[in-house]
């Protein structure tokens, strides 16, 4: 309570918001982390050590979605989310990339069961916890369609 109030009073000016995908436990100062954070003079090694420590519980190299808030004094905060929806979709569908012509060319199909499973995992993300599962499912289906992956009732 007091901490939150204090934080608002001493809220630092934000320089930038950076989003990127980093393998769990595998952050290194090289690209893409290097250029993305280095531009804003953020301490690369501190980020890597911190990120790697906080993602120890995930399977190594799982791509995690990271959002970094860089403050003007070169300090930063970050949040780590479970892999992006498109990563799950690709993994469930067993494909490497989406379709080159989504809407015209379907690469593969997934069942609603997959959508449900993915939604359940994404619901554990912060910012998603209070979203109804149905909304999350809709969003996943939208992403899948834009990748040229069709959702069907059952895979037979």
């Amino acid at each position: 309570m007091a901490a939150a109030a204090k934080e608002i009073l001493t809220r630092r000016p934000v320089a930038a918001t950076i989003r990127l995908t980093v393998p769990a436990g595998g952050a290194r100062p090289a690209p893409p982390v290097g250029p993305a954070l280095g531009q804003y003079r953020l301490n690369l090694m501190a980020f890597c050590k911190d990120f790697n420590a906080r993602t120890q519980k995930y399977k190594p190299d799982t791509p995690m979605a990271v959002t970094i808030t860089a403050f003007k004094d070169n300090s930063f905060e970050f949040t780590v989310k479970s892999p992006t929806v498109s990563w799950y979709i690709k993994k469930a569908a067993g494909v490497d990339k989406g379709s080159t012509r989504p809407g015209h060319l379907t690469v593969t199909t997934l069942s609603v069961r997959h959508v449900y499973e993915i939604a359940k995992v994404k619901q554990t993300d912060p910012f998603c916890q209070y979203m109804p599962l149905e909304s999350i499912c809709k969003s996943i289906i939208g992403t899948a369609n834009s990748m040229g992956i069709k959702i069907v009732k059952d895979l037979e």
Binding site: V14, A16, R19, P31, L42, N43, K57, E77, K81, S146
Partner: protein
């Protein structure tokens, strides 16, 4: 129309099994800010023998990348950023205005905002951007400009951040090109290459302070996960008789050698070993005698210190002090559980979210 209605009983194909190690629910970390004291980053990764004298880097650091600036309508910034990452961007960054207060009626003359994005060099940028725009329903493909990324830009910026750091009274870490602020203090001179360990991180501080309290003179010290070599070098400065450093990263070994020279430590006194990583064939042991060291410190990460516990302990003499760090306080119970059968007098030091656990290795005769 949603699938919702069709969902019946599903066999438990738990997707989270694919990403979690131990069936733990994924949590999110709103976290840590680093103190403003700027610092140069050290990171080492290199197989290349051509490292410049001032910076140890690797092909992967100087790997080319594409720097793309995209003009995005403000109202779709978030979904568009996410979509870009899905379709091939490595990173997406947005500069913020200082004034976030809506009350101030900040004049938003422009309805567009600039996204700075990094793409892998082989990526089809135009395709990604148009797919991303398409996926969120944008009618027009946003304007964008592609440039070759300049690694010197960010590498140099980070080099500039390095300032002398005071760890404790009369203990400083000083970059190679700066003269020590306090000449009479114990000054550890470092080149901020890209190996971990520049003194600024809480875990390095914790380990340095622990080391300072333990080394009285004449000890044999093992730095497991040596990084830049900062602990191995510090041990010498405190009076240790010998230091050995182990790391899985060849560049860390190189960085440590360079830093040892900066501190006038002869190469024969600082033994360095490259530990086998997972990619190497197992069976190749580190050529070190067991039960040889009076002090052993491992500042790595949770998983390695758990997996290598027996290994790390094996190098310590009975009664030697073992220090383990690189651990978050929430990870501490796991580490204590793993190490407590072998250590007594366990104590824990904390800075922020980070901890360092230390204890004395039990003798040969362990009570059953």
């Amino acid at each position: 129309m949603l699938a919702w209605n069709f969902i019946k009983h599903f066999p438990c194909k738990n997707l989270s099994r694919h990403i979690l190690r131990d069936r733990v629910r994924p949590l999110c970390f709103c976290t840590c800010s680093t103190p403003p004291s700027s610092f140069s980053i050290s990171a080492s990764l290199s197989y290349s023998s051509s490292s410049s004298s001032s910076c140890f880097t690797d092909e992967s650091f100087t790997a080319p990348y594409l720097s793309v600036r995209i003009h995005c309508p403000k109202h779709v910034l978030d979904p568009f950023s996410e979509a870009l990452l899905c379709f091939g961007a490595s990173s997406v960054a947005v500069d913020e205005d200082i004034d976030e207060d809506a009350a101030s009626g900040s004049s938003l003359a422009s309805k567009e905002i600039c996204i700075e994005s990094v793409f892998p060099v082989h990526e089809e940028v135009k395709m990604c951007i148009s797919q991303a725009a398409n996926s969120i329903g944008l009618k027009e493909v946003p304007k964008f400009k592609v440039e070759m990324g300049d690694e010197q830009d960010w590498i140099t910026k980070n080099q500039e951040l390095f300032q002398p750091v005071e760890i404790a009274e009369r203990l400083w870490i000083v970059p190679e090109w700066t003269s020590p602020p306090v000449t009479e203090a114990v000054n550890i001179i470092l080149n901020p290459g890209f190996a971990f360990g520049t003194g600024e991180h809480p875990t390095t501080k914790l380990c340095l302070l622990l080391l300072q309290s333990l080394i009285k003179g004449g000890e044999a010290f093992l730095d497991y996960g040596t990084g830049s070599g900062i602990l191995a070098i510090a041990a010498f400065k405190f009076g240790a008789a010998s230091s050995v450093g182990i790391d899985i990263d060849p560049l860390a070994i190189k960085s440590t050698r360079h830093n040892a020279a900066l501190n006038n430590i002869p190469l024969e006194k600082l033994e360095l070993h490259l530990a086998p990583s997972e990619n190497c064939s197992s069976g190749r042991e580190i050529p070190l005698q067991k039960q040889q060291f009076d002090v052993v410190i491992a500042n790595i990460l949770l998983n390695p210190v758990m997996e290598l516990a027996d290994h790390i302990l094996s190098f310590a003499k009975p009664g030697a002090t073992i220090g383990i760090s690189g651990i978050l306080s929430e990870q501490l119970p796991n580490v204590i559980e793993r190490y407590s059968p072998f250590l007594e007098d366990i104590s824990v030091a904390t800075i922020g979210d980070w901890v360092c656990m230390s204890g004395a290795k039990k003798g040969e005769f362990i009570d059953n």
